[in-house]
Subunit: 509 residues, 2 copies
Amino acid sequence: MSAAAAPRAFARLRERFATLADLYQVDGVLEWDQLTGMPAAAAGLRGNQRATVTRLAHELLASRETGRLLERLDGRLEPGSFEAAFARVARRLHEKAVLVPPRLRAEIAAAESEALVRWEEAKRRSEFAVFLPALERTFELRRRYVERFADATDPYDVLLDDWEEGLTTAELVPLLQQLRDGLVPLLRACADREEDVRPRGRSFPVARQQRLVRELFQLVGLRPGTWATDVGPHAYLVGIGADDVRVAVPYHARTLQAIFLALHEAGHALYENQVAPELARTPLGSGASLGWHESQSRLWENLVGRGLPFWRFFFPRLRAAFPRALAGQRLESFVQEVNLVRPGPIRVAADEVSYTLHVVLRVELERDLLAGALAPSEVPSAWNERMEQYLGVRVESDAEGALQDVHWAAGLVGYFPTYALGNVLAVQLWERLLRDLPELDASLERGDAAPLREWLGRHLHRHGKLFAPRELQARLVGGLDAGPYLRYLRLKHGHGATALGEPSGGRAL
Amino acid sequence: MSAAAAPRAFARLRERFATLADLYQVDGVLEWDQLTGMPAAAAGLRGNQRATVTRLAHELLASRETGRLLERLDGRLEPGSFEAAFARVARRLHEKAVLVPPRLRAEIAAAESEALVRWEEAKRRSEFAVFLPALERTFELRRRYVERFADATDPYDVLLDDWEEGLTTAELVPLLQQLRDGLVPLLRACADREEDVRPRGRSFPVARQQRLVRELFQLVGLRPGTWATDVGPHAYLVGIGADDVRVAVPYHARTLQAIFLALHEAGHALYENQVAPELARTPLGSGASLGWHESQSRLWENLVGRGLPFWRFFFPRLRAAFPRALAGQRLESFVQEVNLVRPGPIRVAADEVSYTLHVVLRVELERDLLAGALAPSEVPSAWNERMEQYLGVRVESDAEGALQDVHWAAGLVGYFPTYALGNVLAVQLWERLLRDLPELDASLERGDAAPLREWLGRHLHRHGKLFAPRELQARLVGGLDAGPYLRYLRLKHGHGATALGEPSGGRAL
């Protein structure tokens, strides 16, 4: 092979991955449409469409030619370069792809499309039985998928690695254990101690909530002309590309939950929005991992969005939008209200202390489902038992229980752990942000999120997948550590003094 | 080749065309999203996405394997069978595809995506210059496209055949001539004679128009759960499949134009909606041609939607929706109003007599643009001159002139003639319908469109592309004939007695 062959091989590899990126983006548009505009009877067509797009992408990724180009580049790219990072991610995708036959991929895509429709119906009717056949099929297909990876230490590792490169069950289990052991007693203490200050019977007209959500997207700083939002059955970002981020938000007139869901999704959207343009149409052109992604959504939702500085700016706007519902309400009591720890059945509506316990429950169940230790039909009872055990919550219906999340319907098995990682990383990052940006609170009080947005862009977002998740952990926060997250929650909820000598990163209410 | 080889080759061909159908459907979703929900800055990404989908479809269609399978089937399929019709359409697509290199296809797709964005901006600003570079590129690419077809008698024939299988410039030109010669004097006579009865300053709140449009879709009988509608910059059907039809409608509070645009698009949508399910994911699974498609939209818009029987049913509903604007208005004067012949600059708002003259103008210009006899920069002046000559209308702005239609931006060159064919065929079909369904008017007066819908489904819609357009003309109306259309208009607008001994298909107001 001549010296010029490596650049030529790289250019050809790059062309293949540009086509792949287009196909993934196309699937993003199909997904967004399915969530927001597609007529119900079109589900069958959509299943075929997505199966075909997925199959074509898979064929390209798994092709011998892609493998040959990667082989020719092996050891010939400068370590630390864009090309080396490109080849790292491309090789990982290729190797996964060759292990999984196209037919299985297509079956999975078609089953997901069907499962989404069943799940929506099941949730609407609050009947787990309507979803059960689709759930059985989902885990049957996941097991066939996992079987292809003969080298895996733990079957669950295969699924974890799909969402969080390099994450293992062996490191996840003790992390979740530490979180569970820290959070269960804290939740109990908070629930006993915090008074439910939420006024009843308020109404927040949805059209005005929608206007405020658009204001929030501008405040967070999504680039003008790159985003769209619509009403969706659940909060969801479809990151089609850096120039095209779509946020679905569900609205209910009784609560302001949409505000926090929107901030959460805006955090995801901003990450995609700020990936460097030169990474577009390469395998590096989106967020580093789901854990890192979730760190961004939780940072905006909780560290910014439940903090006093942000509300000093935004509460007057909120009160102007809902003068009747918020008549006489004071800023401080409002901030107390949105931080109230009050365990309930719904994950996406959960307070910060309960949240990770919802995640622990789901991870335990999906590991058991994958291992065959739990039958899909037993999910509702297992779910409800653990809700009592960890959160002290009695689940009243399947819609508020095992049917609440889209993930298993969308084939997102092994995805939940990244939520716990996100919570942990968000607080680790926030500690660093408070050191690097001493004026952070002051800028948020002015409604100026630019310093925060720019810091995140410079240190994290623009890199896309140039660095592996673990490398980013080392560079940005010195490694994954649940300590700051637990300390932050204890401090914030008035248990800091008993648990720790000094506050670290947290902010007392 | 063994006797069993033909069925095997057909099965393999069928599989390839199923993938192709999925890709075309995917492009339909991308197009719909681009029209209704896509953020503006995403246009670049969308261009790449559609270019990739188009290129993959093209590669599959043009591949040697597709050609080989077609060769193996040659002369081995039973004439008149589903398989023979499949192979007829598949062969035509394949032969066109092999003549056009993938790179040119991709350039055309990317240029269209860009042109759509420029056209929208140009129209918004009413500045033809903003669109000019995109228009130049469009015709440059069309010429390169046409050059590939060395056998064509007339360059324009190549483009005509893309939309209307087998239509030639040689037969089109005299047809349009006949229409122009018949319509110019009729239009002049109507404009002199008909009084402008339209009340001024009425307002029709858009939200209520949107509700009525949904009612109309139900009345026409689009299958529940298969359709969606949204606000769009122009009226447009995206027929993704029989189970997924999307209708974009523009609304303006000052007029009820949206009602007629919606009926028009509903006619298109119903055609796709009623194609036989067994034709799905085959090259036969959509309407026979654009001329036939347009016959359906014009039938619902004009023959149904501007007729007294329909308004006997629908006018009370309209008046209930707009009690203020329509206070004191009588049914008869309303029907007179919506049939008023009053030439204006806008094609989609044109009365029935003016409409085809708009089409003639566009066809003349695009033939000259393709031949290089007219420079794109000269389009506005040529446009405006002919508007005066044929319609007696002075064009005040580019937005109301040469920028009004999306077609050239969307690469739809050679498409306009199908509108004239549609008008002609709609009246020919209506004549037959009045013979076959003597109770047609009575059912429409009851708001019952089922007899009409079922007739159209049985005789036309369900066949998809099983029959070639010319064959359908012979079967359904005994061949293309402009006579009934001209007679119908003369009769309807009070000139029937002078032009013809007896009414034929038309209905005096």
